[in-house]
């Protein structure tokens, strides 16, 4: 790590012109990845990421730079180059960096470095075997084990001086099943902000592999999904991607502060069905999107975004809060030193309601049951979203009927929030990677089973 005096010197230099805030972010990350395909370990690699990012702000204007040269001259040069873009005299901001505070909210038992390569390869083999033996129609299994230990140090001109360590492990499994007519894929990729104890305590390698294989086989035998507007029951877990994409992104200050979001200036208003309470919580122990400190050196926290349908809070980072004339919510995150932080989600979910899963299905005469969701995207300005269904079934007369594949759901966030007419009591969170202005970061999505009274479903079968 850099010497504290050097950090102070660099920050002072960054404020040598008219800036009112300076920050230094240093990162040292080791990532490893092992991949098995065709039952053979095909690649194994280790990556060392290392560098320093410097940010200077004046009001809500920011400049950002990064380098992997961390000698004194290079860092001072970078600070000078950045400071040059703010004209005017120094504001003579005086500050001291306190004692280094270390984040340790998330208990880690088995660090990636303590897991021998043979053990990782053994886990791949076990997953591969279970997936292949699940069904004769499984033709390919691609299983990976990825882990990373990201050490960050953040210091700023408010005196913040912290260190945080983020440990992530994940096993993404893609299974291909094929017959004479088509090839279909099933995917499952559990992980957490946790060490390798994850696979003993939470999800076994075998369970994960079986789940991926199961989805591939269901899709292989599924019919094409019909299209049109219909009620859709979205299951718990990754189904929460609907809220993440359709509403979560539009509640980030990145779009709200510029008044580019459909939810701009709507605090206190009823924006969703009264059944909806939505939360973004970066403090969940060992949650995939949790941190002790966020990427601006602030404590992560829990934010109630929507309470009983009423908008309570946005997700706001330090700099955007200046544009919004308010407090930040500790939501500044970034992928790495190569990105300036901005407002981002952590673990975002819809809270439990009162209905049981059975009640929701029984009360639906005709519609789509989206058991597993794929990914999606949203245009924050219009709220238009799309996302794909990874595993789906038709609902007929209150019963789950035939499997259907290839469905995409489209709509607008504001509209869908109001159309949620049943909320289950079986909240589950699952893991995803979220891409936005400050890079790709781990984020949990989650919800109980919910029903939306009407969504446009796009499928290849055509209208019924």
């Amino acid at each position: 790590m850099l010497d504290k005096n050097l950090i102070k010197t660099v920050l002072d230099r960054a404020l040598s012109t008219n800036g009112d805030f300076a920050e230094l972010f240093m990162e040292d990350t080791v990532k490893t990845s092992v991949a098995m395909i065709s039952s053979k370990v095909e690649t194994a690699s280790s990556n060392r990421l290392f560098g320093v990012g410097i940010r200077i702000a004046r009001n809500y204007h920011t400049v950002y730079g990064y380098t992997n040269n961390i000698d004194k001259d290079s860092l001072l040069q970078l600070a000078d180059d950045l400071a040059q873009s703010f004209l005017g005299k120094s504001q003579d901001i005086e500050f001291e960096l306190g004692e280094l505070q270390e984040g340790n909210d998330h208990h880690i038992e088995v660090l990636p470095v303590d897991v021998p390569m043979e053990d990782k390869v053994d886990m791949l083999r076990r997953a591969n075997k279970v997936a292949r033996e699940y069904n004769d129609e499984v033709t390919q299994v691609n299983v990976r084990l990825v882990d990373s230990v990201q050490n960050v140090w953040i210091a700023n001109s408010e005196g913040t001086y912290i260190k945080d360590r983020r440990v992530h492990v994940r096993m993404p499994i893609a299974v291909v099943a094929a017959n004479e007519t088509t090839k279909q894929t099933g995917f499952y990729g559990p992980g957490g902000h946790i060490g390798y104890e994850f696979f003993k305590k939470h999800v076994s390698v075998e369970e994960a592999a079986k789940e991926a294989a199961r989805i591939a086989i269901v899709n292989l035998h599924a019919e094409e999904c019909p299209s049109g507007k219909m009620p859709v029951v979205i299951d718990n877990g990754f189904g929460g991607v609907i809220f993440h994409e359709a509403c979560g992104h539009s509640l980030e200050a990145t779009s709200v502060a510029r008044k580019m979001s459909v939810f701009t200036d709507k605090i206190g208003e009823q924006i969703a069905s009264p059944l909806v309470t939505a939360i973004d919580d970066g403090t969940i122990p060992n949650g995939w999107g949790s941190q002790s400190f966020n990427d601006e050196g602030e404590r992560q926290r829990k934010r109630v975004l929507i309470q009983d349908g009423v908008l309570k809070s946005y997700m706001v980072d330090k700099i955007n809060s200046r544009r919004m004339d308010g407090e930040h919510t500790g939501s500044g995150r970034r992928q790495s030193y190569k990105f300036a932080p901005t407002s981002r989600m952590s673990n975002t979910y819809i809270a439990n309601g009162k209905s049981t899963f059975e009640e929701i299905i029984q009360n639906t005469k005709y519609g789509l049951y989206a058991k597993k969701m794929g990914g999606g995207s949203v245009n924050p300005a219009t709220g238009d979203f799309n996302f794909s269904v990874g595993e789906g079934y038709m609902i007929r007369d209150g019963k789950i009927a035939e499997a259907v594949r290839g469905a995409t759901l489209v709509g607008t966030g504001a509209d869908i929030l109001k159309k949620i007419d049943m909320v289950g009591n079986n909240l589950l969170r699952e893991q995803g990677m979220c891409g936005s202005a400050s890079g790709s970061i781990p984020a949990d999505v989650g919800q109980p089973t919910i029903r939306v009274s009407e969504i446009t479903v796009g499928g290849r079968k055509g209208a019924n």
Binding site: I37, K40, V41, E42, T43, A44, S45, S46, R48, L49, F50, H61, Y64, G65, Y66, T67, N68, N69, D81, L82, S85, M117, V121, T139, Q140, V176, K183, Q184, T185, C225, S227, G228, K229, R258, K259, K338, G374, G375, G376, S377, N379, A381, T382, D384, F385, N386, F387, S388, G406, A407, T408, V410, T456, V457, G458, G459, R460, K461, G462, A463
Partner: protein, 437 residues
């Protein structure tokens, strides 16, 4: 890092051959919003990718710390990585080709002759220009980004290759609103020749996209004849590029297995992989493995001519690498459909009842290169009796990519590239399944 020392230490530890691929990047990015410079970012970074052959397996290590202290970490990492691999595919470090093409236009110094201040002013003006076009344009973000990359490839078989590439992009993101509906438009020009930046064109296109979409609504579900606009077609092509990789074929996850020589697309489709295109960050005379790159038509008048190979897949298929070995796998370089002769306006006029699709959203989620099935959110215009009658949103377009390629009835003359390296002209398509009202 002293590479000779690295090579020597690797050899001492039993690594037969070793190769480094070093990139140094300089970046400059600005964003303008509401008449003010909002973001200003500069960076200077390097990355080293090392691979080494140990007991017949290829170990890999990547690092952003480049000094002699890292040598032991690298050598040990390569050995650990190689030891984990049990794939029996034959792998090797390449000794090099006899000739590498002199590729023109990889680096153009016109970008550096314009100073930062002028680029900031140009971006501020661009924002102003977009706003002045129409009162309904409510919000504009204008941006400029520039990157310079120096590449050095060096291996223990005596091969040394270098290249320098730069690229700049001016663009805008515009939001139009008529009080009830809000729509967005994005337009950019990517090039390393500063004279290519036509600000008026960027401003016009971005504002037009946003304004023309105001009031967009769904259309009834059904099958529609479609004109798939160039950039939307390019986005769809990008999502299916892996179908053409020999790696996908060998792993049995490509629909194109055993299809070489077959007609897989309409006769008017020719698909090109061209590593020599001007002003593209994907251009160059060699790939990451040191193999000389080459121009090829992977689909020639509808017929599949072959797959894209790197050294490993080529060895397995007993053929030669096509120079597509990138990032320890296979990638396309500049990948595009050759343009035809039909004007886009005439393609629209030729439809009695149809749909122009201008944008396909969520291609990372709604496509599946393994099955070719896609179902995507689409934006566009309804066409009735050869005329555009209204904008369309909140619909999905679904199909199978290989079926779509067979259903291309005409190819327009308006080839356009996304990000400068993935391109298509607008394509007229017999039918797509549309889901709406």
């Amino acid at each position: 890092m002293n590479y000779q020392l690295l090579f020597q230490k690797a050899k001492d530890k039993g690594i037969e051959d070793i190769q480094i691929y070093q990139t140094n990047n300089g970046n400059f990015d600005i964003t303008v919003f509401n008449g003010e410079l909002e973001k200003y970012a500069i960076s200077d970074s390097s990355r080293l990718k090392i691979k080494g052959l140990y007991n017949g397996k290829m170990g890999t290590v990547n690092t952003e710390i480049n000094n002699d202290d890292m040598i032991d970490f690298i050598v040990d990492g390569i050995i650990a990585s190689a030891n984990a691999i049990d794939s029996e595919d034959e792998v090797f470090i390449y000794e090099g080709d006899d000739h590498y093409k002199e590729v023109e236009g990889l680096y153009n110094d016109s970008l550096e002759t314009v100073d930062a201040k002028e680029k900031i002013n140009a971006t501020l003006n661009l924002e102003k220009q977009v706003k002045s076009i129409d009162k309904r344009i409510q919000m504009v973000q204008a941006f400029y980004g520039e990157a310079t990359t120096n590449v050095l490839l060096k291996n223990s078989k005596g091969l040394t290759l270098e290249k320098k590439v730069n690229s700049g992009v001016y663009g805008v993101y515009a939001i139009a609103s008529d009080g009830t509906d809000q729509r967005t438009g994005v337009e950019y020009i990517q090039s390393n020749d500063y004279n290519d930046f036509d600000f008026e064109k960027i401003a016009k296109e971005a504002s037009k996209t946003a304004l023309d979409m105001l009031g967009a609504k769904a259309i009834p579900s059904g099958e529609y004849e479609v004109v798939l606009k160039n950039t939307a077609s390019a986005a769809l092509l990008a999502a299916h590029g892996s179908m053409f990789s020999a790696e996908s074929v060998q792993k049995d996850v490509s629909l194109l297995k055993d299809k070489v020589g077959d007609k897989i697309a309409s006769s008017n489709i020719t698909l090109v992989d061209d590593p020599f295109k001007k002003a593209s960050t994907k251009s160059g005379a060699f790939d990451d493995e040191g193999v000389a790159t080459k121009y090829k038509e992977i689909i020639d008048s509808g017929n599949l001519t072959g797959y894209l190979h790197n050294l490993k897949t080529a060895k397995k298929d007993n053929t030669e690498s096509t120079g597509n070995g990138f990032n320890n796998g296979i990638s396309t370089t500049n990948f595009y459909f050759k343009p035809g002769e039909l004007a886009y306006d005439d393609a629209v006029k030729s439809m009695k009842k149809g749909l122009v699709i201008t944008d396909l959203q969520g291609t990372h989620a709604g496509t599946d290169a393994v099955s070719g099935d896609f179902s995507l959110q689409a934006l566009g215009y309804l066409v009735e009796d050869g005329k555009i009658t209204r904008p369309v949103a909140l619909i999905t377009a679904a199909g199978n990519y290989l079926d779509l390629l067979k259903d291309v009835t005409d190819v327009c003359d308006d080839l356009k590239f996304n990000f400068g390296f993935i391109g298509s002209p607008s394509l007229k398509i017999k039918k797509l399944s549309i889901s709406g009202d």
